[in-house]
Structure formats: C-alpha cells, structure tokens
Amino acid sequence: MELLVIFISALLINNFVLHYFLGICPFIGVSNRLDSAISMGLAVTFVMSIAASASWLIYYLLLVPYHLEFLEIVSFILVIASLVQVVEMFIKKTSPPLYQALGIYLPLITTNCAILGVALLMVLKKYNFIESLVFSVGAGLGFALAIVIMAGIREELEFADVPETLKGAGITLIVAGILALAFMGFSGLV
C-alpha cells in the first residue's frame, strides 16, 4: 500500500515536470513530435530507474559508512554520467533496434536534471531501496506521460494561429501551465 502511494504520488500528484520543474529542457526541446517524445520518455524512465538504484547503493553502502555524505553531488553526477555511457554501449551491442529508437536521446539524458533530481530526492525523503526503485519508475513514467501529452498538444498547435513571437518556448510554457492546473486535480487522490 505504501509503495502504491509513492508510485501514484510520483506519477501524477508530484509529477516531476509539472510539480518539481525537473527535466524542463527536454520537455520543451523534444516535445514537438509524438514519436520522439515517446522514445525520450522511455529512455528517461529506463535510465532513471537504473541510476536511482545505483545511486542508492553508492550512498548507503559507501558514502554513509565512511561519513562522506558531502561527496553526494559529485558521486551522483559521476555515477549518472558513466551509467549513461555504459547503458548506451550495452544497448548498442545487444539490441540495435532499441538503440535506433533511443540512441540519440541517451547522451542528452546526462544533463537531464530529472535523473539527478530523483537521486537527490530519494536521499532527502529517506526511502529504502525498494521504495527508491518504485519512486524512480513512477517519476520516469510521470515524465513520459507529461512529455507525451505535451507532444500531442503541440502537434495540434501546428495548425493554430499562434503569434510569431509566442511560437516555440513561449506557447509551450503556457500550455504546460494549463497542464499543471489540470494535474492539480489529482492532488486529492492520496
């Protein structure tokens, strides 16, 4: 039950994009086409769950016993950067079709603040290993949900008469605001 609450809350109520404002760069940059948005969402979910588990292990098995908590930021970012490289090589070797679909998004993920955000929040919220895993999958799927909805709306916006200077980032942010209002409706869920 506890795990379900964590999952739903990461997915809908405290949605990473619309509540914590994490991962806004890809949310604006890669949301103009539906298929690339789906790939990006899946790639983020995938890397996020691996990165959260790896960071959890490093933090509680290495940093805490040796009182090195102040190295949190440096070690997490290094773990994420090297993990993305490993995942990229692994996918390239084992599953070329998957690499075709996710390939170009993987390097972008290193600087996606949502990944580091998951690692930092899971320490802040003092989750155990299983809770962290559930939290990261929920957060990743929440990101995927938000970016896919946004891509769907933006494909329709192509045909709308948006003022020249509002096109691109401007209108995307205003649509995101409306989405954030809609997602507030979920806050009574838990």
């Binding site: 619309l18 509540h19 914590y20 404002f21 994490l22 991962g23 806004i24 760069c25 604006i28 102040f70 190295l71 949190e72 930021i73 440096v74 970012i77 290094l78 950067a81 600087t111 996606n112 603040c113 580091l116 955000g117 930092l120 929040l121 802040l124 003022p163 020249e164 200077t165 509002l166 980032a169 401007g170 209108i171 995307t172 942010l173 205003i174 995101a176 605001g177 409306i178 954030a180 209002l181 507030m184």
Partner: protein
Amino acid sequence: MNLWKEFIKGWWKENPVFVMVLGTCPTLAVTNSVRNAIGMIAAVAFVLLGSSIIVSLIRKMVPNQVRIATFIVVIATFVTMADRYLAAYYPDLSRALGPYVPLIVVNCIILGRQEAFASKHGVLESIMDALGMSIGFGIALILMSTVREILGSGTWLGMKVLGHWFIPWQVMILPAGAFFVFGFLVWGFNAVNKAFKG
C-alpha cells in the same frame, strides 16, 4: 571595450533564461518569492564564476575527450561548497531551496558557458562572461519572482506592497503560475527584441 561587450551581452541580447531558454528548472522552481530567488542567484553566480575561472585556467591541460567530465567535476565541487555554506549559515533558505541547490550541477547555463566560452577564452574574458551571464540570470529570476510574489501574496521581499483590498492570486505561487509567468515573459522578450531589430 571587448571585455565590456562580453559583460553586457548576457543582460538582454543573449539573456540565458529568456532568449536561450537555459536553466529553466531553477527559474520556475524557486521564484515563488524574491528571497528564494536572491539565494539562488547568489549560488549560481558563485558556481559560474568559480568554475569559469578554473576551467579557463586549465583549458590547455585538459584533453578534448574528457573535457565534459572535467567540467562537471569542477562544477560539482563548487556546487558542494555553495550547498554546504548555505546549509551552515542560512539553514532556512537552504531548506526552502531544497534539492535545487545541488541541482545547479546540471544547470545548462553553467555547463553551457564552460563549453561555449570559458574553455576557449582567457581568464579575464571568462570572468566578464560569467559575471554578465549571472546578471542576466539574476534579471530573469528577479523579474519572475517579483511578478509571482506581488500577484501571489501581495508582498515584495516580505514587505506588503498591495493593500487590504487585494485578494492574492493563489495560482501564482503554485507551479502553474510559474509556467504562465515564464511563458508570458519569454513572449515579451521576443516581441521587444523583434521590434528593435525590425
């Protein structure tokens, strides 16, 4: 003269937030009050200045293949310093900013400036560039937080500016308000820039 140009370009023409749309996470997340915004500006300016100086000093020693990793470690070191300092001397501000101080590591403005500028220019120019970009970031955050705090709670930096007749717009402090204000400010910046160009 050249230095002055590096200094002022970030204020408006190449404003990192409104024109280049970088560093959006903190812009949206910590602008619900002017006080939080000032804390974030100070932290970002410190990290940007420190890492620009170090990166421009070591730019000839770092092999090209590992430069991104090197930049990130340099940035993370300065972020850790800023984070510990805030936690020790301003605990309530540190709590209010929460994970957004450590997240400065992945702020695209900082890595972007190292990659695009500090790794190719001398120390003096890099300092000017870092200061200019910090001011541009500051202008953006102060603008955002001013609009949000005045409309959302009727105060500015904790001082009451609107009278009792004013009913706060709750939505402005909520995430949705951040997106709206940011969207409209980006629109305004584009419109002004276009009007001056044309």
